[in-house]
Subunit: 442 residues, 2 copies
């Protein structure tokens, strides 16, 4: 082997990163290190090149100067294009102007993936292209600072939420995503060929999580749900992550308390993240002492007083919610029973309303929950009134013959929660690879 191939290889081989960027400091002067990452930029002229290298923790300056590093290495660095993936072995030198006060004087370089093309957009530019262009090369798009912060915060929020469930005695469950019957009776479902049968993708784990309260009392699942939404909006996805909770021996008031806990934990997590990452530009969400609760009827009255065209029984439209000036997190509870699914419990005090709630953030619905029906006769009655075929649900109803406890629960849309906590306007940027009516790739 000649010196060139030793110094400028293209394979990882036995090289391993010794330090992430955030572990480098002037105290390490003269140490030999191996750093790896992607090229942010190379500038320079003649005998000197500055390269900025990015790894998942930050940036590193590499100074290739004639005389202090091998010529072949310096020449290679001077020709590198942004995004190329490289490893550098070199020596740490203090440098006041460089990130964290150090730069690396390279001795050897390995260029794992050399970039020749110009990306369709520049992730570090001030103005970014529309989301369709960005999604074409999503992994480049995800290098953008704003998306890096959204997804790092997202991972921490998931961790915090799961810890809450574990600490509060909930069992983690996984329920099947391939199902025989529509849960809520014929909403927009994706059909599957299941071997030689027709089946559907689950739009929620509803019936399964209810059943599991019989055996485990308190359960949660964080998993994909599938809805063939025809909508082209900034708040609908065909595939989303749902945080599902179901708990025995409680009602919808207890579930609203759980949600309040989860929202507080999520806000704290994001605010902590914000403090550690001051460049994240999240709009800080205030931690509410208590999330306000309004009844459906109360809001209809308010809407009518400000002249909104709405009647008791209508859905509460975003435009009307805006008219009465609701913002931040709040609950709307005690919805009319009519449009609610068969498993939602009727109020004992008023048969027109249900023991149900929505969690809102401004005009965005984040969660729906309710007390559930636990008695088979009542469930069958409700299903009949909705025109559902009871036979098709026999595999579910059968469980109710053997002691279903009273229970309540909710589902929270993770992407919408992330939108509200990070100020993200398009739900497609709260998920890695969005799916919608127009988009099945990448």
């Amino acid at each position: 082997m000649n010196q060139n191939t030793v110094m400028i290889e293209t394979e990882l081989g036995d090289w391993r990163r010794t330090h992430y960027s955030d572990r480098l400091s002037p105290q390490m002067a003269d140490s030999d290190v191996t750093v790896m990452g992607w090229v942010l930029s190379v500038r320079g002229h003649g005998n000197i090149s500055f390269m900025m290298l990015k790894d998942k923790e930050g940036e590193i300056q590499v100074l290739a100067k004639a005389g202090s590093c091998p010529d072949e290495v310096r020449e290679k660095i001077s020709r590198l294009k942004a995004h190329s993936s490289v490893g550098i072995k070199g020596t740490v030198k203090p440098s006041e102007k460089a990130p964290r006060g150090i730069e690396i004087i390279p001795k050897e370089i390995r260029v794992f993936s050399e970039v020749e093309k110009i990306p369709p957009f520049e992730p570090y530019a001030k103005t970014v292209k529309n989301i369709d262009t960005r999604l074409e090369v999503r992994p480049i798009d995800l290098k953008r600072k704003s998306l890096q912060h959204i997804f790092k915060a997202r991972s921490k929020i998931l961790q915090a939420i799961r810890n809450y469930f574990y600490e509060n005695g909930f069992l983690e469950i996984n329920t099947p995503k391939m199902i025989a019957t529509a849960t809520e009776g014929g909403a927009a479902l994706f059909p599957i060929f299941y071997y030689n049968k027709e089946a559907f993708l689950a739009q929620s784990p509803q019936l399964y999580k209810e059943q599991l309260t019989m055996s485990f009392e308190k359960v949660f699942e964080i998993a994909p749900i599938f809805r063939a939404e025809p909508s082209r909006t900034n708040r609908h996805l065909a595939e989303a992550i749902s945080i599902d909770v179901e708990e025995a021996y409680v009602d919808y008031n207890d579930i609203m308390k759980r949600i309040e806990d989860l929202i507080k934990i999520s806000i704290k997590t994001v605010n902590d993240y914000f403090k550690e990452n001051t460049d994240s530009e999240f709009i800080t969400v205030n931690m509410p002492d208590k999330i306000p609760q309004y009844t459906y009827s109360e809001l209809v009255d308010k809407m009518q007083k400000v002249g909104a065209k709405t009647e008791w029984g209508d859905d509460l439209y975003p435009s009307n919610l805006k008219k009465i000036g609701l913002s931040g997190f709040y609950f709307i509870k005690d919805w009319p029973i009519g449009p609610k699914p068969f498993y939602v419990k009727m109020s004992k005090s008023d048969p027109k309303i249900s023991e149900s709630f929505d969690l809102m953030f401004g005009d965005l619905e984040l969660s729906s929950g309710s007390t559930r029906v636990e008695k088979r006769a009542e469930l069958e009655e409700r299903m009949k009134n909705k025109g559902l075929k009871i036979d098709a649900f026999e595999y579910h109803l059968r469980a109710f013959d053997y002691g279903m406890p009273p229970h309540a629960g909710c589902g929270i849309g993770l992407e919408r929660l992330i939108m509200s906590l990070t100020g993200t306007e398009n739900i497609r940027d709260a998920t890695f690879y969005p799916r919608d009516v127009d988009r099945l790739t990448p």
Copy 2:
């Protein structure tokens, strides 16, 4: 309201459990408590009835005796069938023979769901029916002690594994389950109607997790995968949970170290659970110092020496693995490149073999992993040789134009991991609601 309806209601109303069974002790003598759960058994005669009540933490004895509790309550209790869901308000009394040394003298009862039917099988019987009968009323089946322990341990294993990833700088990701192209080229996929297009359910998050190493370096996902397995065995599911890992700037040896960490953590978690739950009857798995590694070629030699009919290039069949006496956890590495998917890297030292491994437990494969190809030209060459249509993967290959780092990863089958850690023989009992070629419900 007369006294009866006050004392024997059927709704939860404002009752809430004050204590789980494991919080009750003789020190609480004469305290008033509210307990809830399902009826395990009622026995007695004439003026005295013993009820055993079960909640998610344990059992509680309820003693209904004429004179010390209202007659209506005693009569109601004496007629209750097993599995009925009830709440009891009563007073704690020390009782040497009862669980935890206490019994409850009931004052009021609420019967939330009264069971009239006899279950198709008795979850507390020594002999249990075959799995098809059990699955017909799965929530009753899941009350069985052995399944309770499997799923409680499962939840703790998931928690421990995620904590490992969080502590080691991995980002939690979610990748789409509805995809346009088969990942590995035409294996058994479930087709979907995606609006007006044909699509498939993802058999693994492979290509997405690889792409995401460009933007986040270290990622993990724990999510369902879908394989239209034609097999009717005790180790195949049509829908399973996969623990997926992908890491930049490492090779397959580093991933085997990660797996070793994860297996050690999982064994510790199960052994801790076993210590706290001595009735769980798990077969304790020994914690290996190091998981042994054998090369594929080495095992083929061994097989041939004991007279097994196998040649270099053949798959290593369970029957042959048994012949050479392999047991416990071990790796088989450096498999022939031929049958491996296009993204698996070829060995630099021998183009016939790949930088790949399987994690085994006895003759059960738990995980497959490899170093991946990071250069587009090499990837295209491999795809061509496999007869794959390169155009169909353009949305993936495009990412490789912009600096894919060297990376490696693996997927671990959660249900098979649970089987090996808990001694569960049928994979259907390591998941809540199994899906296979014959089963789409419940």
